[in-house]
């Protein structure tokens, strides 16, 4: 369904593409996709020289949940497209001269007929395929970990000698810069992570940075067709993504199934087989605590953005309030001596 107020955005895109591709481009339907606070996302149906196709337009809002660069995500799509990790085909990146669309944007080809919502995973007909979706989810993540970063066009990504050190410094810095109130649980987590810092990663991998239920496209048969939202992608330790995908936040309030899909040990085994890597359990404990801290940092940053930024998106307020509360309880469960693990299972 096309909402009338979205027509100007769709028409502006059609005009831009007609000029950019030097072809006849006509607008069909346009709808806005909810979720994903870092961009305005639209599903647009167009015809190009009379041929119908679907595209996904992601346009910068005035304010964003995560400080990211659109070029970074788009260039990561370019690097990954065509590998065993399925991603939408990147079509257009407009960083400097958005013309008719007024704000920078990127365009990818639509992968039609799929769902992304974590909530839908628990509903028919998808709930019958949760195990298969989970198998596909962690197989793809294993394939991502197995990619040889030296053969991919990833020169735009920084290489850090000690990824854990770098990530901790970065996200601790976000918390200390953006916190609107003192964060004693976050500070305790930062100290724990400092005390238990693992050695530099044995293997440098492409890390998605937000690999979770909600950021991949699945169909009614349990197949996974695309991994989305690569804004936080970076070179780092492959355990970072695995730990992030296990955070209790992504299966709340059901703490026994990672991503509301599979028991963690099963998901871990699938990942090991697909990646050809063996999980260093000591390092993995560190990355699990780090994942919970990173999530808290993102929620804290979104709260700051809501209060001081120019965009008053409800998702920013939601992330910055009840989600901070929830993430604090997860971290507390992880770190309190003698924890009863009310909200998070013990670290693997």
């Amino acid at each position: 369904m096309t909402a009338t107020h979205l027509q100007p955005v769709g028409k502006a895109l059609a005009r831009y593409l007609a000029r950019h591709w030097d072809k006849d481009v006509q607008l069909g339907a346009i709808s806005q996709i909810p979720g994903g606070a870092s961009r305005e996302t639209y599903r647009v149906h167009i015809t190009v020289e009379g041929v119908a196709e679907g595209v996904i337009l992601r346009r910068d809002p005035p304010s964003s949940l995560i400080d990211t660069e659109r070029a970074h995500e788009f260039n990561t799509y370019r690097a990954v497209f065509g590998t065993r990790v399925p991603v939408p085909e990147p079509l257009v990146l407009e960083d400097d001269d958005p013309g008719e669309l007024e704000r920078p944007f990127s365009l990818t080809r639509e992968i039609a007929g799929c769902e992304t919502s974590p909530a839908t995973l628990t509903m028919a007909p998808f709930n019958a395929h949760r195990e298969k979706i989970g198998h596909n989810k962690w197989t793809i993540l294993g394939h991502l970990a197995a990619l040889d970063v030296d053969t991919l066009p990833l020169a735009f990504m920084a290489r850090h000698a000690h990824p854990a050190r770098h990530e901790l410094d970065y996200w601790a810095g976000v918390i200390r810069k953006d916190a609107l109130h003192p964060q004693p649980i976050a500070e305790a987590a930062i100290r724990w992570l400092e005390r238990h810092l693992p050695p530099p990663s044995a293997r440098l991998a492409l890390v998605h940075g937000d690999y979770r239920s909600g950021n991949f496209l699945y169909d009614t048969e349990g197949n996974v067709h695309g991994v989305l939202d690569w804004e936080m992608a970076h070179l780092g330790d492959p355990l970072e993504d695995l730990a992030w995908s296990f955070d209790p936040l992504w299966c709340w309030p059901e703490k026994h199934l990672a991503g509301n899909l599979l028991p963690r040990v099963d998901a871990l085994g699938i990942w090991e087989r697909a990646s050809g890597l063996t999980v260093d359990r000591e390092a993995f404990r560190w990355w699990q605590v780090f994942a919970s801290l990173k999530a808290l940092a993102i929620w804290i940053s979104s709260a700051e953005d809501y209060v001081n930024g120019t965009t008053k998106e409800p998702i920013l307020a939601f992330a910055g309030w009840p989600l901070i509360d929830r993430q604090n309880r997860i971290l507390l469960d992880r770190l309190q001596p003698g924890s009863t693990h009310t909200y998070a299972e013990a670290l693997l």
Binding site: A3, S31, P182, I185, A188, R191, R326, L332, P337
Partner: protein, 136 residues
């Protein structure tokens, strides 16, 4: 006059979620309604308890600091009261106490296991007190 603002916010949230959201014509608008309704529910809970939960934290922090080694900043906090019961004033003193707690926690981790355990117990009680029931 609205005699029970917390309950009214909850009522508004339910109307938005169950009455208005189903009438919207796009998924985006329906999702926005759901998110705003959840925020209203959150505000409904917080409205009723905001000052009380923070004052309980402040009282427990003072008791906790009383079991810690003497310190001028903590002593000042233990003798302080909020400038008023307006939330902004209660928040100011609450923030001061939580900041002092973070500093004390770092020290206790290094050399006082019993105090460290009491601080974790406080943080557990604090987080349960501030939990949003509707959200799990």
């Amino acid at each position: 006059m609205i005699p029970a603002p917390g309950r009214t916010l909850t009522d508004l949230a339910m109307r938005l979620m169950l009455g208005i959201a189903p009438q919207t014509t796009t998924t985006f608008a329906a999702a926005d309604c759901g998110l705003i309704a959840q925020l209203l529910l959150t505000m409904g809970q917080e409205f009723e308890r905001a000052v009380d939960t923070r004052m309980q934290d402040i009282h427990e922090l003072k008791a906790l600091f009383g079991t810690a080694p003497a310190d001028a900043a903590r002593a000042r906090f233990m003798g302080a009261t909020p400038a008023s019961l307006h939330l902004r004033d209660v928040n100011a003193l609450h923030d001061e106490g939580m900041q002092l707690l973070a500093i004390l926690h770092a020290q206790a981790e290094a050399d006082d296991a019993a105090l460290n355990a009491r601080i974790w117990a406080f943080l557990r009680a604090h987080s349960e007190r501030h939990k949003f029931e509707t959200l799990g």
